[in-house]
C-alpha cells in the first residue's frame, strides 16, 4: 500500500491561511485531541468521533470526515502556484495531529514530495517517537507551550505539562526542524509578565529556537460551543488589550528571542 493511501480523519481544510507558517498555506485540521483547554476555539476538534454540530443558521453540520492522504493532497495541490510565489505550503493543525501520527507523517511526506514547505501546529503531548516519525518531513514545528506551572496547566488544559516540555527539548536538540514556540495569551491563566517571562526563558534555553509567537485569546469559537450543546467555558472573559500584548511582547524580547503577536 502506498503511503498516499493512508487513512485519517479531518474536519476541515482551510486555504489561504497566512498566519501559520511562512507564506500562503493550506491548513488541514485533524480530528481528535488529548487536551481539553478551556479556551479552545475549535471544540469540535477535540473528540475523535464524528459529530453533529448546529451552525449559526440552524443547519446541522457533520463534523469529521474519513479521508486519505491522496484525497487531502488533491486540495493542497490546488494552491501549488500560490506556494511557489509565497514560499508557502501545508500546515497540519487540529485537534492534535500527533494523535494521528502515521496519517500526519504521510501527509507531510506527500507535501515534501510535491515540493511544498511543511509545518505543524501541535502541543507535543505524546510519546516522543511519534514526533520523531514526523521530523524527517517537517520544516517548521509551531509548538504550543501554554504554561510553565504543571499544576495550573493541568487545571486549565486537563493534563500536566512535563511531557510537552521534555518533547520540546528533544525536538530542539534533534536539529531536524525549525522550532517556534507559541503561547496563547489567556486572561486569568497566563497573561502576566512573570508567567510569560517564564515561558520565554524556557523557549530561549532551547537550542536553535529563535522565535516565539504570542496569540491573544479570542472568542470566535463561542458559536461552536452552542452548536455542540456545550456551555462556553470562558464565560465573559474579554480578549487581552493591545497594550497588554505589547507589554508581554517586551517581556518575551527581554529573554533574548524574537517575538511576534499573532502568527
Amino acid at each position: 500500500m502506498s503511503y498516499l493511501d493512508t487513512k485519517g480523519r479531518i474536519f476541515d481544510i482551510q486555504r489561504y491561511s497566512v498566519h501559520d507558517g511562512v507564506g500562503i498555506r493550506t491548513i488541514v485540521f485533524l480530528k481528535g485531541c488529548v487536551l481539553r483547554c478551556r479556551w479552545c476555539c475549535n471544540p469540535e476538534s477535540q473528540d475523535f468521533a464524528i459529530q453533529q454540530m448546529k451552525e449559526a443558521s440552524g443547519k446541522l453540520k457533520t463534523v469529521g470526515e474519513d479521508t486519505t492522504v491522496r484525497e487531502v493532497m488533491q486540495t493542497v495541490e490546488q494552491d501549488r502556484i500560490f506556494y511557489r510565489r509565497s514560499g508557502g505550503g501545508l500546515t497540519l493543525s487540529g485537534g492534535e495531529c500527533t494523535v494521528q501520527a502515521e496519517f500526519s507523517r504521510d501527509l507531510l511526506h506527500a507535501a515534501k514530495d510535491a515540493g511544498f514547505s511543511t509545518a505543524i501546529e501541535s502541543m507535543a503531548c505524546c510519546s516522543y517517537d511519534k514526533i520523531e516519525m514526523l521530523l524527517p518531513y517537517l520544516d517548521t514545528y509551531l509548538m504550543d507551550i501554554k504554561h510553565m506551572n504543571g499544576e495550573k496547566h493541568k487545571q486549565f488544559c486537563g493534563k500536566d505539562n512535563a511531557l510537552m516540555l521534555e518533547n520540546a527539548l528533544k525536538t530542539a536538540k534533534s536539529g531536524l526542524t525549525e522550532l517556534v514556540i507559541r503561547t496563547p495569551v489567556i486572561p486569568g491563566f497566563n497573561d502576566t509578565v512573570p508567567e510569560i517571562r517564564a515561558i520565554a526563558g524556557y523557549a530561549a534555553s532551547l537550542p536553535g529556537v529563535r522565535q516565539m509567537h504570542i496569540l491573544p485569546y479570542h472568542r470566535l469559537g463561542y458559536d461552536k460551543y452552542t452548536g455542540l450543546g456545550r456551555e462556553y467555558p470562558m464565560g465573559d472573559v474579554l480578549p487581552p488589550s493591545g497594550e497588554k500584548m505589547q507589554e508581554l511582547k517586551k517581556a518575551v524580547e527581554a529573554a533574548g528571542i524574537l517575538c511576534m503577536i499573532g502568527g
Binding site: R15, V18, V22, G23, I81, R85, S86, M260, G262
Partner: protein
Amino acid sequence: MNPKFNATPTMKSERIKGLVEELFKKMPEIEASRAVLLTESYRATENEPIELRRAHAFAHILDHIPIVIRDNELIVGSQTLAPRGCQTYPEFSWEWLEAEFDTVAEREADPFYISEETKKKLLAVHPYWKNKTSSDLALSYMAPEAVLAIEHNVFTPGNYFYNGVGHLTVHYDKVLAGGFRGIIEEIDEKLSALTVGDPHYARKHTLLCGMRLSCEAVIRYAHRYRDLAKQMAQKEGNGKRRQELLKIAENCNRVPEFGAQSFYEACQSFWFVQQLIQLESSGHSISPGRFDQYMYPYYSADREAGRLTRDQAQEYIDCIWVKLNDLNKCRDAESAKGFAGYSLFQNLIVGGQDKDGKDVTNDLSFMCIWASQHVFLPMPSLSIRVWNLSPQELLIEAARLTRTGIGLPAYYNDEVIIPAMMNRGVSLQDAREYNIIGCVEPSVMGKMMGWHDAAFFNMCRPLEFVFSNGTDKGEQVSIRTGELKELKTFEDFWEAYQKQMEYQISLLVNADNAIDQAHAVRVPLPWLSSMVDDCMDRGLTTEQGGAVYNFTGPQGFGIANVADSLYAVKTLVYEQHKLTLEEYKRAMTLNFGQGFDDATVQEMTMQIAAGIQKTGRKLSEADIEQIIRDVRASAQVSEEEKEWLSRVREWIDEVPKYGNDIPEVDDFAREVAYLYTRPLEKYRNPRGGQFQAGLYPVSANVPLGAQTGATPDGRLAHTPIADGVGPGQGRDTKGPTATANSVARLDHGIASNGTLFNQKFHPSALAGESGLNDFVALIRTFFDEKGMHMQFNVVDRQTLLDAQKNPDQYRHLVVRVAGYSALFTTLSRSLQDDIIRRTEQAAEV
C-alpha cells in the same frame, strides 16, 4: 535598494488636511454659468461649421466663467465657485435635469444642491436646446428594435447617450514640454502646409482654426488666474501666503502657454489640462494615465539642481490629488445609481514598463501612492502596473495603501494587457506604454479614442428571453428561439441562448454606433483633439475618427449568474431530470417561493394587462387593481408547491458553482463569457475602429439587477447580479486562492476592454510585513495565472454596518465599488448592502 527610486516615505504637510476639510464642508452644488455662456455663444454662431461653433463656445466660457482661488491652494483652477460643484452640459442632454430639479438634492445616489436662481437661469436657456442635443440626434439615428431593447433594460448605453464621452488620456507630455504656444505653432505649420487643392481642405482648415481658437482661449484663461492671484496677493495680510499667491501668478503667467521650467510649473500645467478637458467635453474618466512617467523629467531636473525637496514635491502632488476631488458631475438619477459615489474615474497609473520593455518605477511612483494615503479621497483612481519585473518595494507600498481600507490601488497585469492590446492592432511599443482609463480599460496616451464605457450589457436578460421566447412584460422584444418544450437537448438550450445573445449584441452595436455618430456631428471637441494624434493631420476630431486607435468597448456582466444558471439547467433538467424547463420557469416566476416584491407585481400586472389589451378590451383602473390583487394572490402557493419550491432551491444549491476552483464549472463559465466577447469583435464603429468587450459592471449590477427577474442559478428576482468577473454573491466559499483560480480560468485576453475582479479582505489578512508579502504573492500568482485585474476592499463587516447606522461618523470611509473608490456613506442603501453581503474572505484572525 534599487538606485532608481527612493522608497523612504515623505511627509504629509499641514496644508493638505485643511484643503480636504474645505472641500467637504457642503453638499455639492449645481452652477449655471457654463450653460448660460454656452448658449449665448451658440446663439451668436448659428450658421458656422460645428467645429468652429464648439471652439467659440469653449472660448466664450473660458473668458467669462467665474474663477476662484480657494484658501491655501498651491495648484489653482476650478470649474465652479463652490467646492465639488458642477456645471451642466445642455448640448448633450438637459431634459432629465429639468425633470429632476426638485428631487436632485434629495435623491439617494449622489445628491446635488441646486438654488432657485440657478434653476431660473437654466430654465431660461434650456428651450434653445430643444431637439438640438447629441442625445436627440442619437435617438433619431437608432433602429427601433434597439430602442425597444434599451426600454426593456437588456443593455444601457445611457452614459454617452446623456453625456460626453471622455474616457481618454491626452498628450499631457506635449503640453508640459512645449505649452499651447508649441501646439499653436504646430497648428500654424499645418495650416501653412495645407494646399487649397487638398480634397479635405474644408474640414482640415476648419478644425485647425477651431483648435487654434481653443488653445488661445486656454492661455487667456490661465492669465485670468494670474491676474486674480496678483490681486489677492495685494490684499493678503499673511506674508507667507502673499508669496505663495505671487508664485501662483508667476506659474499661471507661464503655463500652460509655454513649456514648464520646474516641477511646480509642470504640476500647474498638468492641472489646467486635466480640469479644462472636463469643461469642454462633459465626459468622465478623463484619465491622467502615467503621471509618474511624464512628470518625472521635471522632478528629476529640479532634484538634480537642488531646487526641490522630496517633501515639497509631495505637497504639490498632494494638492493635485485634492483638486482631482474638486471636480464633479451631476448625472441623471438612474445613471447616478450605476456610477454611484460622485466618481469621475480619473485613473492615474504608476509603475510598469517603457516602450522598450524596461521597468520604469521611479520616485514619483511611490509619491503617488503616498499622496493617496495623505489625501485619503476616492480620486484619482490609483492603479499599479504589475509585471514579472515589478520591484517588490513598489508592490509592498501599494499593499500598504490597500490595507488602509481606501479601496486603492487597483492592480493590473502587463503580461496579459500588452498582448491583448497587440491582438487589437496596437503596436508593441504603444502597448508597453499603456495606461488605464476609468475603471479598468487599457488605452494609450494621446493616441486612442477607446469609447471605453460604451454600454452595460446584462447577460441575464437574453437568458430570460430563452424562457419567454423573446417576450417581456407581454411584448415581443427579442427574437423567438422556440417554446421551452422544443428545447429537447441542452445543446438546443445553449443554442437558443447564443441566438438571443447574438441578436441583442447586434442591437447594442446599433445603439452605440448611433450615439457615436451623433457625437461626431453635434459635439466634436477641437481643443481635446489638439492633444491627440493624428487629429490635426486627418482634419478630424476624436469623435470623428481622428485618433490613431479607435475602439468601442461595451461591458458585459453577469457571467457568474449565467454560467451558474446554464450549469444548473444542464444538470437538473437535462442530466438528472429533476424538473422540466416549464417547471423551472414556474419556480422562477414564483421567485422560488420567496414571495413577490412590488417590482414583480408591477411586471406581471403589465404582462397580463398587455395580453388582455391585445384582445381589444380596454382596461379600467378598477380592472388593473383587480389584476394586481390576482397577481399578489398568485404568490400564495399551496403547501405542496411550497415544499416543491424549497426542494428546487436545494437542488440548485447542490449544483457546483463558479468561483470555487472546480475546473469543470469554471471552464463552462469561460465558454459562457465567449458568448459575449466573441460576437462583439466582429463589429465596427463609425470611426473606423473595432468593438472589443469588457467584462465589468461598475456598480450597474445593482440597479440593472433590480430590473431582472429570478434566474435559474437561484438568484431571487430583482436582487443584484454578480460583480465583475467574480462569483455570484456569497457563492465563493473556498477562500481567495480558490476564487482567484476560478476567475483566472476565464479568457481575460479577449476582453481587451478590461475585466474586473473584486476581492474583499478583512484587515487581519494583511497584518504585519508578512501579511503584506503574502498579499502581494496572491496578486502575483493571480497574474501568473493570466488574470488581468484585481482590486480589494479591506474592511470588516461590522465597520460597514456601523457606517450605515452612523453615516456622520464615517464620512471619509472609502470603499472600492467595482472599479473605483467611493465614499461609502454617499452610496445608496442597496449598494451599501451589496458591499456588505459579499463573502468576507477574512483569513484566520
